[in-house]
Amino acid sequence: MKIQQLSVFLENKPGQMAAVFDILGKSSVNIITMSTADTEQFGILRIITPEWEKAKTVLEKGQFVVNLTPVIAIQVPHKPGGLSSILALFQNQGINIEYMYAFPCAHTTEAVLIARFEDPCNVADVINATSDFKILSEADVFKEKKSCEIQS
């Protein structure tokens, strides 16, 4: 149960990040969550949005290099130790995380961990077979977020 992440190449110069979100804003694309990775010379912007197809199209039209990356969204308890419990599982199973980021749902006791693995299908199988953690579908993630927004 993978979800699509948009990965965007960012040249390290002022205004690049603003340009991305300007394009997305003007196209009425709503962002669920995002993260950046950067070096001195360039950055990688990672975005989760329900409208990833539209977002990809408009960004490419704006001369950005955009890749689609399958990632896994895992529901974790939003409380002390919530993240460490899933990381302990990865450690025990010898699963290597490429990178991850997370967002909480306000007014709930859950948070969502977005994680990138070399072999996401295998990781999903391992999680399902060895734990009670819930792997979220696109519908779950986007609905989850929506309900958060309504509550807030």
């Binding site: 990688i44 990672r46 290099v65 490429e98």
Partner: protein
Amino acid sequence: MTQLATEQTIWDKNESLPREELQALQAKRLKQAVARVYQNVPFYTANLNALGLTADDINAIDDVRKLPFTVKTDLRDNYPLDLLAVPRDQLARLHASSGTTGKPTFAVFTQEDLDTWSDLCARFLYAGGLRKNQFAHVAFGYGLFTGGFGLHYGIERVGAGVIPAASGNTRRQIALLRDLNTETLICTPSYALNIAEVAREEGLDPATDLPIKFGHFGGEPWTEDMRVAIEAELGITAFNNYGLSEVLGPGVAGECPCRNGMHLQEDHFLFELVDPQTDEPVKPGEIGELIITNLTKQATTLLRYRTRDLCVIHEEPCDCGRTTRRMGRVIGRSDDMMIIRGVNVFPSQIEEALLSVEGTTPHYMIELDRPGNLDQVTVSVEIQPHMFSDKMTEMNMLKRAIDKEIRTITGIGVTLNLVQPQTLARFEGKAKRVIDNRFAPGSMEK
């Protein structure tokens, strides 16, 4: 300087032969050179035969224009030693320059060639103040590169003491110069400025705390502004010299105390200046591509070698008493070769590196700067979807792979700058992929 200008500075009587005698000598040597290669070098035998020429058709200097040009790719095609004009066992030394495809071009010498080379370097060193009771410090690379050894033996020929410091470790070089009270410094012009800068960092005033009086600089293009800066910084008189390994190495031309152009060593080379588009001789005083024919070099004798260097030739007599014509500074190239830290690099080599890593050639741009007087190369590459990964590790691997390939092919390290698509300039005609900021106005300011 004034003292030098009035002093006798001519090393060899051939430097001041009456023009008619010089031209008679050139004609005789040209005929011998053509006969030698026609007989011994299959490449030239075939090329002359194809034009219906034999050595007998070459009797006067102007007959050189009947001969075909030799170009860099001819040297590559005859790699490694197919252009030898002597048996292999006659070779006394083999140098090489960086090639355009990773393959070097050999510069080879018989013992007689080495003697000539030493003499030709001695000519400009002596003209530029070196005397046998002095020391000269060579901060050129010593390996396959012709610069270090050429100057080294030139200094020995003058009879001065040579310090073969080679390149690198500038602080140690400064200590050596000071401790030995060395009069002459030999290196690239940019390294001379680097020495001055490092000396300042050490709390020294390079103009007064370094003992050097004379500098002989070459191996890369430089400007009169740079000469003014070097002379002021180091408190020396700076001389320009010119050479290329294909026909010899350093010693092809060098300045006299008048410093109004580099005296061409016309007794050992025949020089022409042609329009690179039409291949016709340019009018006196006009810029053209320098074409060099080896008259005396035994190991390899190149006919009408296209240097791709653009310059003017001054014909009016020089006050120093030499009768040879003088070439002005190299002001450009008729191809797109760059000289980076003394290494010859073509944009096509960068392209080749990108192609071999990426499978396609992305849009790219090369920018040359000289911060701290050392050449720095930035290669900007437009990223394409197939090159991009969401993983930083893969992006870093891509950068390292391109870096490594460029270093392997060109021998130089670059700063790689990945940029977004459509951000680099596009060209309708011939692409201008090099931005050289090294000689821009203001680039010499401290």
